[in-house]
């Protein structure tokens, strides 16, 4: 479990002073040369066959750009431990590569291989299981201020092993996502919950919660990724922004590494309408 220290502190300071002000400013930023971004997150919803999987290729672009460039023309193959190939082919959406005959198996090891413009990118990952979602409950006096609608999604952490989770809350017709990566250090073997922390939810809003079982390396990656997605620079509680290196290696040119991660997760998901 990670607490976002700076957010807590800043909230407290605001409580004390009720001052401080925020404004949108113009900042000149340098732009690095584009880097390949591989979003290869294999997801297997409990109770489904998990045959259809999508891998997305894109590149980095300037921070204020409104378009994310996609990457076409790659050959993508995922293999299981018995070397069965699952071929991903580019679909109608540029940059989206789809496979329709994937066979997900818990704790199976998969290898990703992407060939693009003469370079070969490789990664290996194990498909992790996740504890089932037991119930989603709505709280009307939630949040730090006790007047927010919050959702708690309960599950029972398997004892006697270290588990890593990604908790994702998405909200219908909203770009905002509530993501948290957690290990079970504080709640090993207990019934615990994830929290939807979006403010100002109202009756009728649709919320989808997804719990992912993730590997330790993916957990480490997500922990950094979620922190920098907030994008803070400066201030007394600034911590240095990290470079988020994933597990995919450019075997042709190691220094020209791609961003993104090859992950394989069992997931459990529920959609809830605020009452």
């Amino acid at each position: 479990m990670k607490m976002k220290k700076s957010n807590i502190l800043i909230a407290l300071i605001l409580t004390f002073f009720m001052t401080s002000c925020e404004e949108v400013v113009t900042v000149d930023l340098d732009t690095q040369a584009p880097k390949l971004v591989i979003e290869a997150a294999l997801k297997w919803q409990k109770g489904t066959d998990g045959k259809t999987q999508t891998i997305k290729l894109s590149t980095t672009t300037s921070f204020f750009s409104t378009e994310i460039p996609t990457v076409s023309g790659a050959q993508i193959i995922v293999r299981n431990s018995t070397n069965t190939p699952f071929i991903f082919t580019e679909s109608g959406t540029p940059g989206d590569y789809v496979c329709n005959n994937f066979i997900p198996v818990l704790n199976e090891t998969y290898t990703l291989s992407i060939t693009l413009n003469g370079a070969v990118y490789n990664a290996t990952e194990t498909l992790k299981s996740v504890a089932p979602i037991e119930t989603v409950t709505q709280i009307n006096d939630g949040g730090i201020t006790k007047n927010e609608i919050q959702l708690k999604t309960f599950f029972t952490d398997p004892a006697a092993e270290t588990n890593y989770y990604l908790f994702q809350y998405t909200y219908k017709d909203d770009l905002y996502q509530n993501l948290a990566a957690s290990d079970d250090a504080f709640f090993q073997g207990n019934r615990f919950f994830s929290l939807s922390q979006k403010e100002k939810l109202k009756v009728g809003d649709q919320v989808t919660v997804t719990h992912y079982g993730v590997s330790k390396t993916y957990y480490n990656y997500l922990a950094i990724l979620i922190t920098i997605a907030g994008g803070s620079s400066g201030g007394p509680f600034q911590s240095p922004p990290a470079t988020v290196r994933g597990n995919i290696v450019n075997t042709t040119d190691k220094d020209n590494y791609p961003l993104g991660f090859f992950s394989a997760s069992e997931i459990d998901s529920k959609t809830f309408t605020i009452q």
Binding site: K2, K5, L9, L12, T15, F16, F17, M18, T19, S20, E22, E23, V24, V27, L29, D30, Q32, P34, K35, V37, E39, T59, T61, S62, F63, F64, S65, I68, G143, I144, T145, K146, T170, L175, Q177, F186, L195, T217, N220, A223, I224, L225, T227, A229, G231, S232, S233, G234, G235, P236, F237, Q238, S239, P240, P241, A242, V244, R245, Y257, G260
Partner: protein, 793 residues
């Protein structure tokens, strides 16, 4: 064994010192404020016949040994009338001086004679003294007089901006400052995360900041020492003073226990801004306040023995509804015994306790957390005033630490959080030192000393073992540092030594007098810091924990050289100080990407030992006298950090390159002044301008899991916009004060007159409503007017 060594060491010194004295007599005594009997620190005694000087120590004591003769003794101190006394020294004499405050009228202060050339003669450099009266004249945000913020106007001192805690000295971290309140270590110097300091200005007598040339009696931190003395209390008559401000109010009571022999002082301060919170519907269940208490008892047993007891207790309390609450603060106690073995040998024995406590309740997830540090310290210091040109200081010190890195508890039975106690840590830090002040000739003065510090990390503790002794591994595929998995553990029983260190810390300072008003000086010091603050933010937060050095965390070792040019003009009306310094620190901690520092029981797995260097030029021009006084200070400096890979395969942090530390401020200009218009009005103004804080801006973005992820290049390659503000104040002392017992004054101030919105941070993220990426600047204070009322009787 250890104590034996020390005692034999001291005996040798006592014997050797008696060999020096022949045909000479000693003049000694103490110097106090004539109105309150408060001892005065750093008063200059000047004997024109011999051009000899001595100044009072932190207990107001002085001693000087001279050949038989007739002398004039001038005692002078800023803000006091100079006293001149004629005497015939044909036997050793005690001579106490009681200096009268110079009518509290700075424009009438005449410090012409005695003060001459003391800053020129002495080897002291890189040291700034601030009297509490000058600190009180500076305009401050919300009218809260702030000891720590006043330091930011000095050359070589910066912080991470408005609301940031601590301070950075010569490009060092805030954790590298040793902050002492009556000798007790203060581990967190801030209230409200850094907006205010924990020191009640009414209870403070004096402070001294050592930025370099640190004498051998201090140790334990790499960068600086801030030595703060509490007032003793008035032993002549009962007095009270206090103030009412927008944020907090203060009350101080002092008076005699036994007239002229014993005194007490008790001071309290509390904030009440939280009461305003109750007024708004949204915040009615929230509280946020701080308070602190200072107390001191002083008692003069007889002319050769004084006892002092001092204490401090402070807390910050925050809570938001019932879901979140947070308490933290420092506690200190100190019992001191001053004893004169002879009129030449002064000693002080101290027993000190201090602690820092942090507690956090997160009810909404059922989580309770507490952490802290305690230390028990005994010190015995001696100063032997052997002759007018040779003084010897020596002493020993032993500190026992107990660290609680974290206790985790569920807040109730259905919380789902497991109780946990992170491994408590213990350590012992003994040290001995000896230091000489030696005037070699009329022109050359030397201070040379040596400190030997030791550190024992003690059990009971279970220590993780790692392959190749390496708690951090490097993943060559991903090119990232990762936590290593322990291959086993070793258990150390209670008081068993896990790891020990010993370091010699030489100190040297020399001054060369070019003429009566000009000197050049040089100094070198080595400092060892065995305690590390685990923090990767740009200024410390109350949650940060202290960790002792051990197998995996090495002590920081700092070496600093400094050169200075000092000149007084126009009969000391003006003084100019120019200094340059170069400092390097070994074993500065750096953190691997994504390091989790809260509730981490194996911190060694997320840290790397790096290094730090800083250098700079400081200029300070001060006007010491007259209606208008104040100073201009300018610093040009650089502060950098490097954590190279441990092997050729490893990337290190920031590709192993030197990078700007977050304390790097190229330019730092501060102007402060006060002007006494007449008896009624005094005006003050500050202007501060600093290069923006180093930050890392994104050099691109990409999409992952539907999130906008900024991508970053090299660390700290960018800077926030330049930081500056102008503050003014006006103090009104009503004329009807004269002759009355009750004296009041009004202080009106405006912080940030031209409403500069200084950037505290700039956030780069997606506006989730519009879907567009934005840079959002947060600023904390705009223009802040304030008024406060102070009184005394």
């Amino acid at each position: 064994m250890f104590l034996k060594k020390i005692s034999s060491f001291i005996i040798v010194l006592l014997i050797s010192s008696s060999v020096f004295s022949q045909e000479k007599f000693t003049l000694s005594g103490s110097i106090t404020d004539s109105k309150s009997n408060e001892t005065l620190i750093g008063v200059n005694l000047y004997i024109p016949e011999l051009n000899a000087t001595v100044s009072t120590n932190q207990y107001g004591f002085y001693s000087i040994t001279l050949v038989e003769g007739k002398y004039t003794v001038l005692a002078s101190y800023l803000g006091y009338e100079t006293i001149s006394s004629q005497l015939t020294l044909n036997e050793s004499k005690k001579l106490n001086f009681a200096l009268a405050p110079s009518g509290e009228l700075l424009n009438e202060v005449i410090i012409k004679d005695g003060n001459k050339s003391t800053n020129i003669r002495s080897t002291e450099m890189s040291i700034n003294k601030l009297s509490i009266s000058s600190i009180k004249k500076m305009p401050v945000v919300l009218g809260e007089v702030d000891v720590i913020k006043s330091l930011l106007l000095l050359p070589g001192v910066t912080n991470a901006g408005e609301g940031a805690s601590g301070f950075n000295v010569r490009g060092g971290g805030a954790d590298q400052n040793l902050i002492l309140l009556d000798e007790a270590t203060i581990f967190n110097s801030s209230h409200v995360f850094g907006f205010f300091s924990v020191f009640n200005p009414d209870a403070i007598k004096d402070l001294k900041l050592y930025k370099g040339g640190i004498p051998a009696n201090f140790g334990g931190r790499a960068s600086s020492v801030l030595d703060i003395y509490q007032k003793d209390g008035n032993s002549k008559s009962f007095h009270a003073n206090g103030g009412i401000g927008l944020v907090s109010s203060r009350l101080l009571l002092e008076g005699p226990i036994v007239k002229d022999k014993g005194s007490f002082l008790i001071a309290g301060r509390g904030s009440y801004a939280h009461l305003f919170l109750k007024l708004s519907e949204e915040n009615k269940n929230n509280t946020a306040y701080f308070y602190d208490l200072n107390a001191k008892l002083s008692y003069k047993l007889n002319p050769n023995n004084n006892l002092y007891f001092s204490g401090y207790f402070g807390r910050d309390v925050f809570s938001i509804s019932e879901s979140f609450s947070n308490t933290y603060g420092n506690t200190t106690f100190n019992l001191r015994w001053n004893h004169l073995f002879s009129d030449k040998l002064f000693s002080n024995f101290s027993m000190i306790y201090s602690d820092y406590y942090y507690g956090l309740d997160l009810n909404f997830i059922g989580f309770n957390w507490s952490s802290g540090i305690k230390n028990y310290n005994i010190k015995y210091d001696f100063k032997n005033y052997i002759s007018d040109d040779f003084k010897l200081s020596y002493g020993a010190n032993a500190i026992y630490y107990s660290f609680n890195p974290g206790t985790i508890k569920p807040t109730d039975s259905n919380s789902g959080i497991n109780a946990d106690q992170l491994d408590k840590k213990y350590a012992f830090e003994p040290s001995v030192y000896i230091s000489a002040e030696h005037d070699i000739s009329k022109k050359i003065a030397l201070t040379y000393g040596l400190r030997y510090s030791m550190f024992y990390r003690l059990g009971q503790s279970t220590v993780n073992l790692y392959e190749n002794n390496n708690p951090v591994t490097f993943n060559t595929d991903q090119q990232i540092y990762e936590k290593a998995t322990p291959i086993g553990t070793t258990f150390y029983g209670k008081n068993k030594t896990l790891k020990s260190f010993g370091n010699f810390e030489p100190r040297l300072a020399v001054s060369y007098k070019l003429d009566d008003n000009t000197a050049i000086k040089a100094s070198y010091n080595r400092m060892t810091q065995y305690l590390q603050l685990i923090s990767n933010t740009s200024s410390p937060t109350p949650l940060d924990i202290w960790m002792p050095s051990d197998q995996y965390i090495k002590p920081q070792i700092a070496d600093q050289v400094a050169f200075g040019y000092f000149k007084n003009f126009k009969d000391n009306m003006y003084s100019l100080e120019v200094e340059t310094y170069y400092k390097k620190v070994q074993n500065r901690l750096d953190y691997i990407d994504g390091a989790d520092l809260i509730a981490n029981d194996a911190i060694e797995q997320v840290i790397l030992n790096g290094r730090m260097r800083s250098y700079g030029l400081e200029v300070m021009l001060r006007k010491n006298e007259g209606r208008l006084n104040g100073w201009i200070s300018y610093t040009l400096s650089k502060s950098e950090q490097q954590t190279p890979g441990r092997t050729a395969e490893e990337s290190g942090i920031n590709n192993g390159k030197w990078y700007r530390s977050i304390y790097d401020k190229t330019h730092n200009l501060a102007v402060t002044g006060s002007y006494k218009q007449n008896e009624k009005w005094t005006f003050g103004a500050n202007f501060a301008l600093q290069t923006g804080q180093p930050v890392t801006y994104p050099t691109g973005q990409y999409s992952y899991l539907g999130l906008v992820i900024p991508s970053y290049g090299l660390r700290n390659a960018n800077r926030l916009p330049t930081y500056h503000h102008l503050d003014v104040s006006a103090t009104l002392t009503p004329r009807n004060n004269e002759g009355r017992k009750w004296k009041g004054e009004w202080v009106f101030s405006i912080y940030n007159v031209y409403n500069r919105k200084n950037a505290a941070s700039i956030n780069f993220s997606q506006n989730t409503e519009t879907g567009v990426n934005e840079a959002v600047k947060t600023s904390i204070f705009g223009m802040v007017p304030a008024v406060s009322y102070n009184f005394k009787f």
